[in-house]
């Protein structure tokens, strides 16, 4: 196992433990967090806020201390900053699926470790959904990308 494989594997293990301990792998807890008009359980909001704070601190510290990462040539940070229809449409679909099943991707993949068949069905379906979105649905949004590209090249 090379260094990168080991570190990313260990990151995955660490992440799964955090998800398990915090209750993210229990769909009824997730649904409870979303159920504002019912038996609202706000505890998972603290998981997210805790995650954000620790990510913020670690990310800032690492970026300050290292100009390049230890295991790659450069830091790959998202460059897109446009709030477009694609972002909103995707987030709406994800939110609906999240409320419907009580699973988001990380906890669902972690839950594969439990051997539950219904979780496996969820994850297989999720992978299929990602493939469809990548191959088919993304095409719908391409025109705006091309437009942005041509404006970009026209300015150059």
């Amino acid at each position: 196992m090379d260094k990168t494989t080991f570190v990313t594997f260990f990151s995955g293990v660490l992440f799964s433990i955090g998800l398990g301990i915090s209750g993210m792998t229990q769909p009824q807890k997730v649904i409870g967090f979303l159920d504002v008009f019912g038996a609202w359980d706000i505890s998972l909001a603290f998981v997210m806020v805790g995650g954000i704070i620790s990510y913020l601190i670690f990310q800032l510290t690492i970026q300050k201390r290292f100009s390049t990462p230890l295991l790659a040539k450069q830091f790959y940070l998202p460059t897109q900053n446009e709030i477009d229809k694609r972002l909103i449409f995707g987030a709406v679909l994800f939110g609906i699926g999240w409320g419907l099943g009580g699973f988001c991707p990380g906890p669902a993949i972690t839950s594969l470790g439990s051997g539950s068949l219904s979780t496996m069905a969820f994850v297989v379906s999720m992978g299929f959904g990602m493939l469809i979105a990548d191959k088919v649905i993304s095409q719908i949004f391409i025109p705006s990308v091309i437009k942005a590209d041509s404006v970009d090249s026209a300015q150059k």
Binding site: G12, S114, S118, A133
Partner: protein, 101 residues
């Protein structure tokens, strides 16, 4: 993960393998980490999985990607995405949860 080649595919795969390995460890320690009393049927879970897959791919992120890392990097795009998916989830649950209680 499906769409990447070479090195990038390798580390993405080992991260996912780590998640599953961690899940196996948690199940071994205490199966209660994975209790599911949501009452969702297999069909509902398959439909939910499909929507989560399509939505996270089109919207470029999920609870971890936008919610934790994106907001953690103070990205306005991620903040908007997170507000939208949490709100959409809350609306959906408000509509369907009465049928489960």
């Amino acid at each position: 993960m499906f769409f990447k080649q070479g090195e990038e595919r390798k580390w993405r795969t080992s991260f996912v393998a780590g998640l599953i390995a961690g899940g196996i460890g948690l199940q071994y320690l205490n199966p209660e980490f994975f209790t599911n009393t949501s009452g969702r049927s297999l069909l509902v879970l398959v439909l939910a999985g499909l929507l989560v897959g399509i939505g996270t791919q089109i919207g470029s992120g999920c609870t971890s990607g936008h919610g934790v890392c994106g907001i953690g990097r103070l990205s306005p795009r991620s903040l908007v995405a997170t507000i939208v998916f949490v709100f959409a989830g809350m609306v959906l649950v408000a509509i369907i949860q009465p049928f489960y209680n």
